[in-house]
Assembly symmetry: C2
Homo-oligomer: 355 residues x 2
């Protein structure tokens, strides 16, 4: 199965090893801003039909690699595949975001949750990973991913997206033991899921904690970070004792980067509200950093986008350990030409000489 | 007009003078969680009808003072009164939030913006301030307020609420001079507006920067903080050289509290994602702090709400300069009994004796 990896910039940067240049990939790089993605999505019929079809998921995963030459592919999938496999009636209404027909509201709902077998209910994801890995033929590494238990739980308990997170906060304050049980089930399901992705060929993994930032500092540690640490702890070690590089990203978690960095990950994602120089101080160079261009900078005129991209590259400073990315996912209205410019700017970047 | 102020806890705490106990009020304390508010709102017919009717605005401002004995009243109004007075076709669709029929998209739109005369187009607000001040009869101080120019501009440019702020970010990156002109117009309009509120009787003022947290650190300083500083600078000084106490609140701005504190305000608001102990270190006790209970804690069982309230009180520590509040507005589903419990907990709080 495994071709020799010809571009290992990402893996080296995640391990803070020297690289000839900074690797670059973008969150949601396979997405609606690409006409070829929209065409495949149209053939699939719906977002979930696209996610659950390994051939089509493989196709859209490779599209941005073919077009832009990113330094990493990321599995095309969704953070809600696990609750989808738990039979909660997930639907994606057009323009409305995800909705669960059977949200999780109490202890009895939690008791009923099965832990999906990645080889069965999530087989479509694992097949997609294997197929993408094969089709990549060693061009770039493949990143597998999952949502953080806290973030996935917000959708399961709220029944969809939320502004105030009233339902899950009610559970957090009123029935914290139930919430801990839910998060524990999700953490265990996620360990199996990510290990199956690794076994099928994922060469790095990332945890997306999109909603960790709505918690207080103490709650972040107790209800989000703790379960991400559990997952990292449960990842398969290779025969040589090594685990694939692990990235953890808490959106809105800039103030907590030191805690996030301490849970045994190789890299932390940084959103655009924290400068990389500040982030680097906070994590004291113990982990690599991934980020952090404002996704809206892709709506800027070319010369401004270029300047903003350089600003991010320079703010990291010297030395290894920076994976260029956005601070959040790319948005549908972005012109693909802007993405080309961004990639070219990162590729050609040469840090200023030592003073 | 001016009765003697019988409860000056808020004003003393904002100036970091010693107080017998911590003052408490809640953002959006006159709101939909109160049955008496819903009744008045029903009589008004619509949200804007309520805002623009001084008698009714006065009535709902006083309701939570009568019911809970808060230590401050805050003018019942909206941060979008200024753009409303600029004739942008503001409407509040039920459950949809604000919408502008004529959003601001380019230089020509900005050129057309009038600076509203608070004595004319915003007369209803100024009349409400005077009426509330009279009706309060010195029970507690009255806080006037406005939105920050950046936050108000997001609604004007996006045409309503937004998740990604694509339109205004496009302007920020692509036409920053236009955006600066828009922010400058808003800052000048806000100075007139707040000075009129102060002249009519507002005893403290607050700037709500609800969306400052979607900016990068450099953009926050350039596009939000700078214009809030301009406004504070333009506020009327009394004959004794004193200005009314000024509170600045940037939601999601926890990492930038030191910068916010430095613009000449008396207090900064803190959302629940930063501990007050951390916030106090960041501002080095140069300003008072207002906050910062998670609004969702009001959905918790009584004993948990009490514990969370005490945790916030204790996290500030010893000494003057804490105004108890939520980290954001109270939500409609809150049981008013919980608010009574919160107020009682703050009133009865006695800090632990010196060690």
């Amino acid at each position: 199965m495994n071709s020799i990896l010809r571009n290992d910039l990402l893996l080296r940067a995640l391990r803070r090893e020297p690289t000839a240049r900074r690797p670059v990939w973008l969150m949601r790089q396979a997405g609606r801003y690409l006409p070829e993605y929209r065409a495949t999505r149209g053939r699939a019929g719906s977002f979930m039909a696209l996610c659950t079809n390994p051939e089509l998921a493989c196709e859209v995963t490779l599209q941005p690699i073919d077009r832009f030459g990113f330094d990493a592919a990321i599995l095309f999938s969704d953070i809600l595949t696990i609750p989808h496999a738990m039979n909660l009636g997930l639907e994606f209404d057009t323009g409305e975001g995800p909705k669960f027909g059977r949200p999780v509201r109490d202890a009895a709902d939690i008791d009923r949750l099965p832990i999906p077998d990645p080889g069965r209910e999530l087989r479509y994801v694992i097949d997609a990973v294997a197929m993408i890995r094969r089709e990549l033929r060693g061009r770039v590494p493949l990143i597998g991913f999952a949502g953080s238990p806290w973030t996935v739980a917000t959708y399961m308990v709220e029944g969809g997206g939320s502004k105030t997170f009233g339902q899950i906060k009610r559970m957090l304050y009123g029935a914290p033991r139930d919430l801990h049980r839910l998060l524990d089930v999700l953490a265990r399901a996620t360990i199996l899921y990510l290990n199956a992705q690794i076994a099928a060929g994922a060469q790095a993994v990332m945890l997306f904690d999109t909603w960790g930032g709505v918690l207080t500092p103490a709650q972040y540690k107790e209800f989000s970070l703790r379960y991400m640490a559990l997952i990292l702890d449960g990842l398969t070690r290779h025969a040589d004792g090594r685990v694939v590089p692990r990235i953890v990203f808490t959106k809105g978690g800039g103030a907590w980067l030191a805690s996030t960095a301490a849970i045994g990950c190789d890299a932390v994602g940084v959103d655009w509200t924290t400068d990389l120089a500040t982030a680097r101080d906070l994590v004291a160079d113990r982990v690599a950093l991934q980020g952090n261009l404002d996704p809206s900078a892709l709506l800027a005129p070319p010369e401004i986008l270029r300047a903003e991209t350089l600003r991010v590259l320079e703010s990291f400073g010297r030395g290894p350990g920076h994976v260029f990315n956005l601070g959040h996912g790319i948005t549908p209205e972005v012109d693909p030409e802007r993405v080309s410019l961004l990639v070219e700017t990162v590729r050609n970047f040469v840090p200023a000489p030592e003073p």
